[in-house]
């Protein structure tokens, strides 16, 4: 009896409880991270399929984001060069235009004044429009002299530039002044819309990644039904059972992000040649800018997070359904 009592006490004091040892906890996490990686590598084809789908889904919005960023950079470089075209009255001759130029050069807020004479304009027009013969038939040049005024940086802002325009429009001999900012603004508007579009697309495809990872993890849970039951039977907590699936999801997302990255780099490489050719035609040395370190880090972290979230949702839904019998 005494022996029995002793055993009972010992048993009661040795009951299993939640015990935390941070070192062991960390080692277990590392082990699970590596072993779930190993599990993925043992099924290379299906892993590649899943990660490739994730990669494509992520490359699309990320690539478009990059493209819109490039367009904005391009329009930004035009912003600074906003110029005002002063169309002079037909009767204003060359010497009078030169006087106007002197006057403008003294005006504050202007960095550059340039004359495009009516002859110059006609020649250029002939050259570029292809209406050569029609223009030859004209008796006199219908084009006015034009003075191009480039405001300094402080006066390049739309409101300031507008004020400058009304001011110089009042000068003698000026028919009207046109601010070449309108189309830059429109372009801005279009890129704003494109940016929103990329955001919407990104959200939709991010959701798709969640679903892809969620579904993959759901299938994996089904395949390992027996294993999950047995580990529950020997006293595994839900956190313990959840862990390998969460790491799988994390890896799926992470490798999907890497595939997206590679795809974007390849596409940029393919686009770079034609783009610089086109830019050359516009006398621009514009180059496509690639992914910077921050964007790459954001892409990889974001995709890993999406993978984790997707598997978290799947695990939460399906793991509790499995109870040993």
């Amino acid at each position: 009896m005494a022996r029995n009592t002793h055993r009972k006490n010992r048993a009661a004091s040795q009951l299993s409880t939640r015990n935390y040892n941070p070192a062991i906890w960390l080692i277990r996490h590392l082990q699970v991270a590596i072993s779930s990686l190993g599990r993925l590598s043992r099924a290379p084809f299906s892993t590649l399929m899943t990660t490739a789908v994730i990669g494509i889904a992520l490359a699309l919005p990320a690539g478009l984001h990059l493209l819109v960023g490039n367009l904005q950079a391009l329009s930004g470089s035009w912003d600074g060069a906003a110029s005002i075209s002063l169309f002079l009255e037909q009767k204003v001759e060359r010497d009078q235009a030169d006087l106007l130029i002197d006057q403008l050069e003294k005006q504050a807020g202007i960095t550059e004044v340039r004359l495009i004479s009516r002859e110059q304009a006609l020649n250029e027009f002939k050259l570029l429009s292809g209406f050569n013969d029609a223009l030859e038939a004209l008796e006199e040049n219908p084009l006015p002299n034009v003075i191009v005024v480039v405001p300094d940086e402080a006066h390049s802002e739309p409101a300031e530039a507008e004020r400058l325009v009304t001011e110089i429009e009042k000068l003698n001999g000026v028919d009207y002044a046109q601010l070449d900012l309108q189309w830059v603004r429109r372009f801005h508007g279009i890129t704003e819309i494109a940016k929103r579009g990329v955001l919407v697309l990104g959200a939709l495809l991010g959701l798709a990644v969640l679903l892809i990872v969620g579904n993959t993890i759901r299938l994996e849970i089904q395949n390992r039904h027996a294993e999950i039951e047995i580990t529950k039977l020997i006293g595994a907590t839900n956190a313990f059972i959840r862990r390998p699936f969460l790491y799988s999801g994390l890896w799926y997302g992470f490798f999907g992000g890497i595939i997206a990255w590679v795809m974007i780099v390849l596409s940029l490489w393919l686009l770079a040649g034609p783009v610089s050719q086109l830019a050359g035609l516009y006398n621009s040395d514009f180059d496509l800018s690639g992914l910077n370190l921050l964007t790459i880090a954001g892409l990889l972290c974001g995709s890993a997070f999406l993978g984790l979230l997707g598997s978290w949702i799947a695990v939460g839904r399906h793991l509790s359904e499995i109870e040993p019998t």
Binding site: K8, N21, I230, L233, G235, T237, F240
Partner: protein, 221 residues
């Protein structure tokens, strides 16, 4: 160690797996649970391992009141109850060593300690030389002994076995039973469900008999 007070388990279909069963198993006892199939043996074991909960009455195991145990506390309870199954329930993609190590891994025991304890348990069941083998390459009796090693490796105060000799020939069955007796001698409380009455009647242990979900006989050995 194991208390049942007027325990009834009624299933959703209205059928009673266990009707008003009461008994007490003291620490260090080795008890056989017998009866025809469907008499309620498995139900009784499932209530102890908290695979199912009682509909009425109170179940207490190793000082825990299972009736009131919260869901998140179930894993910790199961670590104190080693379970052995007729179909072994081993993981076939893991080696014998890793199968036996699972309860320790789950409980967060360190690497060295795990290795030491797993080898001790495998040595006890005579399978130390098979630690790197996969369960599928072992015979039925050997697989059952791996299952037993897994159930005792974490030294739980209570061990349950559901028809552990169900698929084994008489010689192997006797071998398994003598293993259980050895565990009992070092203080483990054992409850073994079996219908091999011939075998257990020759052993000198308490026998509880279930018939149609009721406890009809409880005889000290």
């Amino acid at each position: 160690m194991i208390h049942f007070d007027n325990v009834t388990k009624r299933y959703a279909e209205g059928y009673e797996g266990l009707s008003n069963v009461s008994f007490h198993i003291k620490p260090g006892e080795m008890v056989f649970l017998t009866g025809h199939s469907g008499a309620g043996k498995s139900t009784l074991l499932k209530l102890i391992g908290l695979l199912e909960r009682s509909t009425r009455g109170q179940v207490r195991v190793a000082g825990r009141n299972l009736t009131r145990l919260k869901k998140r506390e179930i894993p910790y309870h199961r670590r104190d109850v080693g379970m052995i199954f007729q179909d072994h329930r081993l993981l076939h993609e893991l080696t014998v060593f890793d199968n036996v190590a699972m309860p320790l891994v789950v409980a967060g025991i360190g690497h060295l300690e795990t290795g030491r304890r797993v080898r001790a348990a495998l040595d006890k069941v005579g399978l130390l030389h098979k630690e790197r083998a996969y369960p599928i390459t072992l015979s039925g009796g050997e697989q059952q002994r791996v299952g037993i090693a897994r159930a005792v490796v974490s030294k739980p105060p209570v061990v349950l076995a559901d028809e552990p000799t169900g698929n084994l020939d008489p010689a192997l069955s006797r071998e398994i039973m003598s293993l259980f007796e050895q565990f009992n001698q070092v203080g483990v409380t054992l409850l073994i469900a079996t219908h091999d009455i011939e075998l257990i009647s020759r052993m000198n242990h308490r026998i509880m008999t279930l018939k149609q979900s009721r406890l009809v006989e409880d005889s000290a050995g």
